[in-house]
Symmetry: C2
């Protein structure tokens, strides 16, 4: 389906030039400014009432920053080179800084829910179970009700009470408390860093540039008559090449037990086998943003591409959660029961990594088969 839009030899397809790219960038810059205004209105901190809106504002800021940055990368030849390069660096810094707080929060939620599941706990209220079932939804989906649900069951707030009510073992409860301490500390630090960043002159300079971009895109000479489709096709080719290099045959065999190999390896670094999958996740995004730029607001929803993207988000989340469990197990002087629970949790999340690869393989195969 994507192929037919991208084929530059197709005479039926209308010309899509740098003007379309400029329109897309202006729209994303406007989104960025709207999110920034929302963020300032809600106070930008987690004090009474404004927490959820503030999280949404940060998410929207990152959303448009990623799209601008991705478009600058894919359509580099159509844009002023120096401006483009500097802008991308600054947006990457901003995205990274704003994303950490949410990442730590989501990781803790994922790990505490897994501990509940592994304990056979049945006390989660129905809406929390719904959130778990929809766990592979696009990032940012409903973190607040989930957090509330965990707090209702005594999750992060009172792990000992959970141990009684939720049938958690001492080990699982202690593991949960340890993870909560460590990831809440990390989240708090990330929050402060994000607040500092948003108040910095560096951030104000980025915001000013985006404000200019909202009305005036620095296109390269001749860009308004240059076809967008070849660079977009190149982005898709980079994606398909990276996917072709993935071990998809193995991933397509359920229970191949690949993801947990090295689970007890002495190497404390994140699993190197995860790298190529993380890379594909980024390339899939770039491909998606390139399609958005090509089609303006009229991009048809490609459910298979969405499913593939969701699987890769789940892969990334599980990979990082597994690493956090392994990291927590290295805390000095923990009880053996705590360490045991963290070991089970680590393996469970690596199992999730494997499941996500399988889901990606299934989604991608369908897509290839379905393309005429």
């Amino acid at each position: 389906m994507a192929q037919q839009h991208l084929d530059p030899t197709d005479p039926a397809a209308g010309e899509v030039t740098g003007d379309a790219l400029a329109a897309y960038l202006r729209a994303q810059a406007t989104e960025f400014l709207r999110a920034l205004r929302l963020h300032r209105e809600t106070g930008g901190h987690t004090a009474a009432g404004g927490a959820e809106e503030s999280v949404d504002a940060a998410r929207l800021l990152r959303r448009s920053a990623r799209r601008i940055s991705g478009s600058l990368h894919t359509f580099r030849p159509l844009l002023d080179a120096d401006w483009s390069e500097e802008m991308r660096q600054e947006l990457a810094w901003l995205s990274g800084t704003l994303g950490l707080e949410h990442a730590y929060e989501a990781r803790l939620e994922r790990l505490l829910l897994a501990l509940h599941r592994l304990s056979g706990a049945t006390v989660l209220p129905a809406h929390a179970v719904d959130v778990v079932a929809a766990g592979s939804r696009a990032a940012g989906a409903a973190p607040a009700p989930l957090k509330a649900a965990l707090e209702n069951t005594g999750g992060p707030a009172n792990v000992t009470a959970t141990a009684e009510r939720g049938n958690l073992t001492v080990g699982a409860a202690k593991a949960g408390a340890l993870l909560e301490r460590q990831l809440t500390l990390a989240r708090t630090r990330a929050h402060s860093t994000a607040l500092q960043a948003l108040g910095s002159s560096r951030f104000h300079a980025v915001a000013d540039k985006v404000a200019v971009l909202a009305s005036e895109v620095p296109l390269a000479p001749a860009a308004s008559t240059t076809d967008l489709r070849p660079p977009a096709a190149a982005a898709e080719e980079r994606l398909t090449a990276a996917i072709a290099a993935l071990p998809l045959v193995t991933a397509g065999h359920p229970y191949n037990a690949e993801a947990l190999v090295h689970g007890l390896s002495p190497d404390p670094a994140p699993h190197p086998q995860d790298g190529p999958w993380h890379q594909v996740r980024l390339l899939l995004r770039l491909h998606r943003y390139a399609q958005e730029a090509l089609h303006g607001g009229n991009i048809p929803v490609d459910v298979r591409l969405l499913a593939a993207g969701r699987a890769l988000n789940r892969h990334r989340d599980a990979s990082e959660a597994a690493a956090a469990a392994a990291q927590a197990a290295r805390t000095p002087r923990i009880a053996p029961a705590t360490a045991y629970a963290l070991g089970v949790l680590h393996a469970d999340q690596r199992h999730e990594v494997e499941a996500a690869r399988f889901a990606f393989q299934q989604a991608w195969q369908k897509r290839t088969v379905g393309t005429p």
Copy 2:
């Protein structure tokens, strides 16, 4: 395929009566006596040279004991009731007593191999890897070379050396050493118990009865004109009913994460969810033995039935190995790193349990679809 042999209304099928059952029981009794002779010749203990033959002899003894006992159960109405009941009890005692030593040994091998795999160790010699690849073969396959392979890599014999050569972490090495201590002790006790049993007057009484059975089967009156097929069909019906009650829809969804639910539950009992699968494993055996009795030596190999049986053996082995890892983690005063490794190992084996259920579902679906 099995259906057409079992259909008692099929006029084309030759009559199969109690005489065929008597022939089958005589043949199995003869096998039992041969295995017993082999066992006595090889000394029945693990002293120099005779160990492997002794293991084989015990395996053959159990093999024929299971077949005699299973046939007595399935074809009860065709046999002398009192004799049959007593014989079954004594054979069950013998099978259970002789099987424990091998079970502990196989469990230790499975867990040590898993620890190697989880550590990303690459030092196992090629023939050990072959054994791992064929790990779901019928029980009793080549335990000796596998053990030798593990010893070559310092596996059970020298875990510290393995930690260096095999890239094991301290936790994995200590977990391996702990499991080796506990399961070797259990195995040694089982070995003594088996030796005592084989020297007991109770055993000699069983052996005498089997010797009589080898020439004279105590059939019930009219058994030599009674059709074997209805009781064999009933055995198959018990199997299909038990399989119909299994959660096969869930099992057929890869990565359903069911097997690890309750992985951190405070209940120290073996996973109750495994029970129905263990039961199907026994019923599948009874069905197979009933087919053997019906068809004499001419039973066609049903590869799908074999695959289903192998999946259920793997399910049982992984379930028991996971329980052994959890049990070892309850040892007082172990290091956190040891407990962590045991947690990863437990989850890995529960993952194997889930994989075995998936393999069973796949094998069984094929069988049903393939039946005309």
